[in-house]
């Protein structure tokens, strides 16, 4: 709310800060006392009422909870509960106030809607055809008769995040970006704690540490401090947002919003880079290298042939350097084949299976049904991993290809491509702080899309927040709202 408060006066803003601080302190104390459930429920309820009443508040709350989606223990329920409840409240408010009419569809939207239509049709049509494989032992939302609908609901929810921001339009972007930066601070603290905590064997250190509930010790509830970021790459993917925004605002030839100082911008960029390094995510490091070049391309208005060559050469050097760093972080630098071999072992079997499934079922096997077909198509050769309990193809695009066929796969692949192209075009045409903001957001989204080629789960709300912000800026043009009282202050 404090991040969203661009419309309120200075006095109200101070009051909100004070109230929020009190709530956070009280909530933390109650949490430490073991009352996670009531505190979690009360906080979610309060946030949901706020989200229901105001679209901008809804967007900011969704953005704030998008990386840190599990401040409550799993006793409260599904770990994405806060995001989902707040989102549902926001969507209800949008529908009640008919704010959805403000959405001006762009080309990427048609692709996303087309994908959703194909996904729904294929999932309904293939209901009950999940083959009898060992994965059938899965229960709950992963059982074969529910998984398809559960996954479809998850994708639908993420699309709702996207269109919530599209309904909010350009007005909600800046507040949401501030919310993402605030959340980025928490994620950075979390990442630093992970890095130090793992060395000191402190509790709740999960990143790159796969632990079972049994390993946590007696009397310890399983609280995933940040369950959308239990692994290295999603953490690095989120930190690409402060990295590229900070980098864009640090570039001397670009203008930044009034509420960001150049020192703060540099701090965002350097801090985020540090966290990405700490995450040891190879996909993250390589994507950052490639997308740094994209950011430069988007921010330089005129690129002569010489400059273009220099940019390509520097990109190659950066990517090479990033690759070497990635190799050095995960193994002896003199033996890069080990790292490559391990990546190949982990991912190639799933990619191969997804392609095989798509070849045999060109119209898809239904959303969420990849794990049931996987044992039938997984390669037999010992050089690749075979783990039937792994539920994804280790690539969102290949997941979409296997589950929704070539048509769905193509639509799903084209959505980010078109959105990035539209965002890139727009950012090269606009001036002022708008240019840096859109370039930073587009680049951060491109980095995430690139990283998703090597791992699955398109259910991280923050990437849809990012997509919604880019889409909103592309659709509503470059008009910047008048500075608020807070910004003026």
């Amino acid at each position: 709310v404090t991040a969203a408060a661009s419309r309120v006066g200075q006095a109200e803003w101070r009051l909100l800060v004070a109230l929020t601080t009190v709530l956070v302190v009280l909530g933390s104390l109650a949490g430490l006392a073991g009352h996670y459930r009531p505190v979690g429920v009360v906080l979610i309820a309060v946030a949901s009422v706020v989200a229901l009443l105001d679209l901008r508040a809804a967007c900011v709350l969704v953005a704030l909870t998008s990386p840190v989606v599990s401040l409550a223990s799993i006793d409260v329920g599904f770990h994405l509960l806060p995001s989902y409840v707040i989102l549902a409240a926001g969507v209800l408010g949008v529908l009640a106030r008919r704010e959805w009419r403000r959405i001006k569809l762009i080309r990427a939207d048609y692709l996303l809607l087309g994908f959703i239509a194909v996904a729904v049709i294929v999932t309904l049509a293939t209901y009950g055809t999940a083959p009898n494989t060992t994965v059938l032992g899965a229960v709950g939302q992963n059982s074969p008769h529910l998984r398809g609908f559960a996954q479809l609901a998850a994708i639908g929810t993420m699309v709702a995040v996207y269109f919530l921001f599209r309904a909010g339009g350009r007005e909600v972007v800046e507040a949401s970006v501030r919310a993402l930066l605030v959340a980025g601070g928490f994620v950075a603290m979390y990442a630093v704690y992970q890095a130090i905590g793992q060395q000191l064997h402190l509790p709740y250190t999960y990143v790159n540490e796969r632990r079972t509930v049994a390993e946590l010790g007696q009397g310890l509830d399983y609280i995933r401090v940040n369950s959308s970021l239990p692994e290295a790459s999603p953490l690095a993917q989120f930190m690409a947002i402060p990295l590229f925004l900070g980098a864009a605002w640090s570039l001397p030839w670009l203008r930044r919003p009034g509420w960001v100082r150049r020192l703060a911008a540099a701090g965002f960029a350097l801090g985020a880079m540090l966290v990405i390094g700490l995450s040891l995510s190879k996909a993250g490091i390589v994507a950052v290298g490639l997308c740094a070049a994209l950011l430069l391309f988007l921010t330089l208005r005129r690129l002569s042939r010489r400059r273009r060559l220099v940019l390509i050469a520097v990109t190659c050097l950066v990517v090479l350097g990033a690759g070497l760093v990635a190799v050095a972080l995960r193994g002896p630098i003199g033996n890069p084949s080990n790292v490559l071999a391990s990546e190949r072992y982990v991912r190639l079997g799933y990619w191969d299976s997804a392609v095989q499934i798509a070849e045999s079922h060109p119209f898809g096997v239904g959303v969420g049904n990849f794990p049931f077909w996987y044992p039938l198509y997984a390669p037999l050769r010992g050089g690749v991993e075979y783990a039937p309990y792994v539920a994804d193809a280790h690539s969102t695009v290949l997941d979409a290809l296997a589950e929704t066929g070539f048509l769905g796969g193509a639509l799903y692949l084209l959505f980010p491509v078109v959105l990035i192209v539209l965002g890139a075009r727009r950012s090269r045409r606009v001036d002022g702080p708008e240019r840096a903001l859109l370039a930073g957001l587009t680049t951060a989204y491109a980095a995430g899309a690139l990283m998703h080629l090597t791992y699955s789960y398109a259910y991280f709300p923050f990437e849809w927040v990012l997509a919604g912000c880019v889409g909103a800026m592309v659709a509503t043009g470059a008009a910047r709202p008048a500075p608020s009282a807070v910004e003026a202050a």
């Binding site: 049709i121 294929v122 049509a125 293939t126 009898n132 494989t133 079922h361 037999l380 075979y386």
Partner: protein
């Protein structure tokens, strides 16, 4: 309206095509019972053949239990168990036994009877229950049961492959021999089913470029005349019941060029040999090592002798091979999921005592046999190399040596994968 209609049409088309795409996929098998514990149910109708298959499989599974099971995947171990169900010697009885095994014992795979009608009845039950089915029938059945039926062959020595591999080595480099005119082969046979088998052997020899003369032998008394009329040959093969083939060998064959008795097993020939040594082409040899390392060379024969007495017949070896095939399937599939097990079965050659078997939708492709030099209380596999060439000559007494061609120089890869170790061992049986 046109737009909505078109959209609905496209949506319907996608729905129908995607539904069809998943529906026409072969229905996988029931994995419910298979989780680190594979139970193989044997339908035993009491026939000698079924008895031996059960014995062989149990012997193999007991040996597997000694080493703790089949390791697969990420440190997992699958236990394989056998559950036997006695059945009335009728198709109905066999089907009832299969149903009982599936319902009460939760078996993942069935081993059907060797009788074709009873096997068909069990196969109907297996297909309906989506269980795997193995069969150790001497001859393949027409597989209308699709992928589910794994036919474990008992070997097909009638093709004369392994003997000809050795002969190929002998005539190689011989003056006058070429790819199309390698030499002369004499095939002696008894009329009837042995004659049909001889026909296949002759076909194989002709394919390899030999001139073949096939002659039916009415009785041992007429053998001398037949051999004289045949003239000089490079190799002789005899297709007849063991005792008769042995009497031909003693009557005149041992004075001639190397020859092979073609038989289903060595058991019936060995007692009649006395101090002689004869080359016999058989589906398997007692001294062969199982591909899984559970039994060393001759280990299975010794274990069988300890458990049941005597030399294991081919049916028992086929039964043990079923276990070995299941084990290989689990290791290759890295899973106990039956559908994946079938995928693994057809993906790799499986080394069994019956030779390396390559399956294609459950039907074995080429099944090589082995040639052994059978002597008093010893069985030596003759691999197609210099040692094998020399071994085959041992079946011919020295006085007949001038008739034998000069051995070929060494080297060259054998045409058929070596199915056995080269060590000479003495089985504990007869």
């Amino acid at each position: 309206v046109a737009l909505v209609a078109a959209a609905l049409l496209v949506a319907g088309l996608i729905a129908v095509l995607s539904r069809q795409g998943t529906a026409d996929t072969q229905t996988p098998f029931n994995p419910d019972a298979a989780s680190d514990r594979l139970v193989i149910g044997v339908v035993n109708t009491g026939s000698p053949s079924d008895q031996e298959v059960t014995r062989g499989l149990k012997l193999w599974v007991n040996q597997l239990g000694e080493v703790g099971g089949v390791p697969y995947g990420f440190g997992q171990v699958a236990a394989i168990e056998v559950d036997e169900q006695r059945a009335a010697p009728t198709p109905g009885g066999a089907a009832a036994a299969a149903r009982k095994l599936l319902a009460t014992k939760r078996v993942t795979a069935l081993v059907g009877p060797t009788d074709p009608d009873r096997l068909a009845a069990v196969a109907e039950v297996a297909v309906k229950s989506r269980a795997l089915l193995f069969s150790a029938r001497p001859r393949p059945v027409q597989s209308r049961f699709g992928n589910a039926l794994t036919y474990v062959p008992r070997g097909q020595p009638e093709r004369l492959r392994s003997s000809l591999d050795i002969v190929d080595r002998m005539v190689k480099g011989k003056p006058g021999s070429s790819a199309k005119g390698r030499g002369r082969i004499l095939i002696l046979y008894k009329r009837g089913s042995w004659g049909l088998r001889a026909l296949k052997g002759a076909d194989e020899a002709r394919k390899r470029g030999y001139k073949v003369k096939s002659l039916a032998v009415p009785g041992t008394s007429s053998l001398g005349g037949i051999l004289r009329s045949a003239g000089k040959v490079d190799f002789t093969a005899a297709y007849a019941p063991p005792r008769q083939a042995l009497s031909w060998f003693k009557a005149g064959g041992r004075d001639r060029s190397p020859w092979t008795l073609v038989a289903d097993e060595t058991t019936a020939i060995e007692p009649g040999l006395g101090k002689l040594k004869a080359a016999v082409e058989v589906p398997w040899s007692t001294s062969q090592s199982f591909g899984d390392g559970l039994f060393g060379p001759g280990g299975f024969a010794r274990a069988y002798d300890v458990a049941f007495g005597g030399t294991p017949p081919t049916d028992a070896v086929a039964g043990a091979s079923i276990g070995l095939i299941v084990r290989t399937m689990v290791i290759v599939a890295r899973s106990t999921d039956p559908t994946r097990l079938l995928k693994a079965r057809d993906a790799t050659p499986i080394l069994t005592p019956l030779g390396p078997i390559v399956f294609q939708r459950g039907q074995p492709r080429q099944v090589p046999s082995v040639v052994v030099l059978l002597g008093p209380k010893s069985t030596t596999p003759l691999l197609p190399n210099d040692k094998g060439v020399a071994g085959l000559r041992k079946s011919v007494p020295p006085k007949a040596r001038p008739a034998a061609p000069t051995p070929a120089p060494a080297a060259a890869t054998p045409a058929v994968p070596a199915p056995a170790t080269g060590t000479t061992t003495t089985p504990a049986g007869r």
